[in-house]
Symmetry: C2
Subunit: 571 residues, 2 copies
């Protein structure tokens, strides 16, 4: 060992001990008579001191050490006269007897500090230097802890960790596959898995009634800031269970990892149906750190000639709103911002109606040409608004308006500081729709995936009214982010066939797409279901164009290899 | 939950309990008045009983259940009159009140028993049925336990689990890469990692001084029975350590997993140098479950005209042998088999000389035309042979003869039952050669990989006498199998440059091949080293041609996808 202790380990009670440390030089400060160097490793920082009076040669040697040099020091732990309360080792320093330079370093292109002066691309190219920074280190450590806590919980509950293959069959559904040309079978390709979905169901058919895996998945999608072509998911599946068993198991899982990793204890975790979540919060992943629930106004408004409301109500739409506490003092400019927000093309609202109850008791609304103060006051009262509050109303088609109002709720939550990063609010959302209508292709398609089971009581609607069919599908949501998603699967081949038919697949097409799976389904498949969740701290991520700029990948390959693979790159 | 207990859980003390079980029907036996079904899950088998007299309808229902049907039963635990001591649940049976058929099953193409009548290919195609068999289940369970014990040990020692990417850069060294064409960057390819070697070294440069990962690796090699195109390794790396620190850490690791998983306690684990292992056992992975060490005969034989010995000794070669206890009664036929064994082309021996000391005290040898009985007795004595023993001698070039004699030792060990499957003997082999001479390409190449460090005291021989240079490389061997391999890496860019030069790479070529890595090496790389080990139980393996016959992968992909990837399949 090159060290007796790490750079984060020594405390006042080590005073007098002879120790050896090794690490990277963080700072080198020459104060004439004294020289200080700070030595850093992943555990912390320790100060070492050199005295020109007592050992000039050593002190001169220390002064020559540059940033990020790899240095070993031997010396005695000593109490500092000038203690640093900001670091755990701040009570002590090392009086050095011997320095060994283990390796030098070129000058790093950016500073290795909590806040760095390095640009995004530079930090990606020199990822190994960026990873030396404390925030990056902590993210990697957190991920490590999540992995261990996850496995310990699941293995403790009797789940078996089973690896599924990466070189699998291309299935023309879902996202785009990455493919791998076969050298032995020219013209044929493996696909990299988009998820282990079929394999974990096959494992249930194999009798492994509780399976888990923390596994890489691959999707060749167009890159977005929050999407990586390869990502990791915690993947689980159970047999002989109902939906509530899975919800209970994974509520336990989430409580366990938050307690282990964050020291955070969830109290109750509610369950909302999809319909209820949309109705109350305009989202299938509502942020439950704050209320600001929707109030539906159709009845309160009653008969009206005010065009936006009249149009919505008469065409079967809704008028609904939220109440922003203590926001009656919003300026014209701020209100205009909110109007622009809901009018953005993907929200598509025509406008926003506001009403405020000022601190002085006066009431004002953008619609007060059409409604008298008494009426507007009745609106405010419907929200339980108080003096100082602002209500924001949207009107239009139900689905569209709920979604836009859900976005507005999040925006106001953000503006009002209600989305506290240190607070956690979780819920299950259940009973998702089974199908959605694909306007572009003019057909019904899956909301989840083709192996999700419909509610038994909705089976008869599958062909007559697919839009009304609910699925045994559920999401776990924390702070407005879906962090776990799953379903009870179909275990009956007749049901599976019926579902394929509902989305317009012939028996022939179904067989081509899912042949081996449909075969397997007929050999005694138990009732089963599961979930997967996505983690997103990645040690070596790719940039938006899917390129790894540290490695410079992807890159050209040589002609011999192309020839072996039997493929030609088009000019 | 579909069950209150598993099929492996109920014991005599559960008698009288009302229980619900779910599982697969293993057997259905109709004895007229009584019908028995055995229900199986991954935990065991439980017998259920139906009585024609007390409930004829239910009994009729039970009789209709076929093999591998998925069945739920409710009933009362009862003591069996006819106990089965071969299974843990053999003391009880379930008197069934209610049957629910959860799913039926087509008749499986082979029996789901410990020993099956299914052929290799059929079992691969219906892997989900094969995995229901107990030996397969136990292999998967063992693997799960190995994974958990490995992680718990390593995480407990402060190793961080860090995932490295799968879509990386093609490096034209080692085995063949699998490649993945990029859709966004047409004409460019990612490679799948042959190992995370460069990444784990990058992580050491990043300051994560203890890293581990249990990770998939990919090699596009021509298939052999024991090679899979994708396999999993336990991958580790440590910084600020010397070779003995790694050996100590991983000795602890191996002891831990054997104790946890097998209940086996290793006592001492010896360390041999490569040279010593070759000298004593003719192998760099000697099976230490038995002795049968080599005895070198050159001096004992002295001057001789016996052509095989004379030729070997005069050309600087060796005569060496092993002693097979209690084998003096080997027949002519058996001895001829051994001669053929050493003459096989890859061993290339010209023959084998034997001498035996029969139980009756008589001495006989295949070379007794050339040597008198006293001489041959002196040979036998050199081996410590006793009456009843047989010695087997080979002669020739030192390396070749050692290897052939090593093979012969294993063969005799096998024949004599000395390679007991329930016994474990481990050792470290250290100080491997740094380079080997590639006869085909007429140059020196690496034994391990290009980042392995040479012994400091051999640095001066790198260019003048590469064959003499030893490396800081080590293997862990159990029962004659290399199960872990590693090295102390080069952390000095000047040494790295010198090593590249030794195998004839120009600076330019080295930069092309390992550019980003050589750059990283210059920013404060700590001394570091590590190991990786290979596990081989695979839930869904591929057959020898690299095909997954359950999935039917690889397979053709459609023209749209090829077009997006900018590649053309050659006719």
């Amino acid at each position: 060992m090159y060290r007796t202790h790490t750079c984060g380990e020594l405390r006042i009670n080590h005073t007098g001990n002879n120790v050896t440390l090794a690490g990277w030089l963080q700072y080198n400060r020459n104060f004439g008579g004294l020289t200080f160097i700070d030595l850093r490793d992943r555990y912390g920082i320790t100060q070492a001191v050199f005295n020109m009076d007592t050992n000039a040669t050593l002190c001169e040697e220390a002064r020559k050490l540059g940033r990020e040099f790899v240095v070993q020091i031997e010396g005695k732990v000593s109490e500092r006269s000038n203690k640093n309360p900001n670091i755990p080792t701040g009570d002590i320093e090392i009086i050095v007897d011997k320095i060994t330079l283990l390796n030098d370093s070129k000058l790093p292109p950016f500073t290795i500090e909590e806040e760095t002066d390095g640009g995004e691309e530079q930090r990606m190219q020199y990822r190994y230097l960026d990873l030396r920074r404390k925030p990056m280190r902590n993210a990697i450590l957190l991920r490590h802890q999540l992995l261990q806590a996850s496995r310990n919980y699941l293995a403790g509950k009797g789940f078996l960790e089973i690896e599924t293959p990466f070189l699998i069959k291309s299935t023309p559904e879902g996202a785009r596959d990455f493919v791998v040309p076969s050298r032995i079978h020219n013209g044929e390709f493996y696909a990299l898995p988009q998820s282990p979905q079929t394999f974990k169901q096959i494992l249930m058919m194999s009798g492994f009634d509780k399976y888990f895996q923390i596994v890489k998945c691959f999707r060749d999608e167009d890159f977005r800031a929050d999407r990586q072509p390869e990502f990791t998911q915690v993947d689980c599946e159970m047999s002989f269970i109902h939906q509530e068993d899975i919800l209970e198991m994974f509520t336990g899982y989430v409580k366990h990892i938050f307690k282990e990793v964050k020291g955070y204890e969830f109290s109750e975790i509610p369950t909302l149906t999809y319909t209820e979540a949309m109705h109350r919060f305009g989202s299938d992943k509502p942020d439950m750190r704050f209320g600001m629930e929707f109030v539906y106004m159709n009845e309160i408004i009653g008969a009206t000639e005010f065009p936006p409301f009249a149009e919505a109500i008469n065409s079967g739409g809704i008028v609904a709103g939220i109440c922003a506490k203590d926001s009656a003092n919003y300026t014209r400019k701020q209100l205009d911002e909110l109007v622009e927000f809901v009018k953005e093309p993907h929200r598509g609202m025509k406008g926003l109606v506001w009403a405020r109850w000022a601190e002085d008791g006066s009431i004002k609304s953008s619609a007060d040409k059409f409604f008298d103060e008494g009426k507007i006051k009745s609106w405010l009262e419907a929200f339980g608004a108080k003096q100082g509050d602002l209500i924001l109303l949207l009107a239009g088609d139900k689905k569209k308006t709920q979604k836009a109002l859900g976005d507005l709720r999040l925006e106001m939550g953000q503006r009002l500081g209600l989305r506290d990063r240190n607070k956690f609010a979780a819920l299950w959302v259940v009973d998702f729709p089974m199908f959605s209508f694909d306007e572009e292709n003019n057909n019904w398609t899956f909301e989840h995936h083709p192996f999700t089971s419909p509610k038994a009581e909705h089976m008869h609607l599958i062909h007559s009214n697919p839009g009304e069919v609910l699925a045994n599908a559920y999401d776990f949501v924390i702070n407005g982010s879906e962090c776990c998603s799953g379903s009870i699967r179909i275990h009956d081949s007749a049901v599976q066939a019926s579902i394929f038919k509902a989305i317009g697949l012939t028996d022939e097409q179904a067989k081509n797409k899912f042949g081996f799976f449909l075969e397997a389904l007929q050999y005694g498949t138990p009732p089963h279901g599961g979930s997967d969740s996505i983690r997103d701290v990645i040690a070596f991520p790719k940039i938006n164009s899917g390129r790894d700029i540290m490695l410079d990948a992807p890159s050209a390959i040589d002609d011999v290899q192309l020839k072996e693979l039997g493929i030609v790159v088009k000019a």
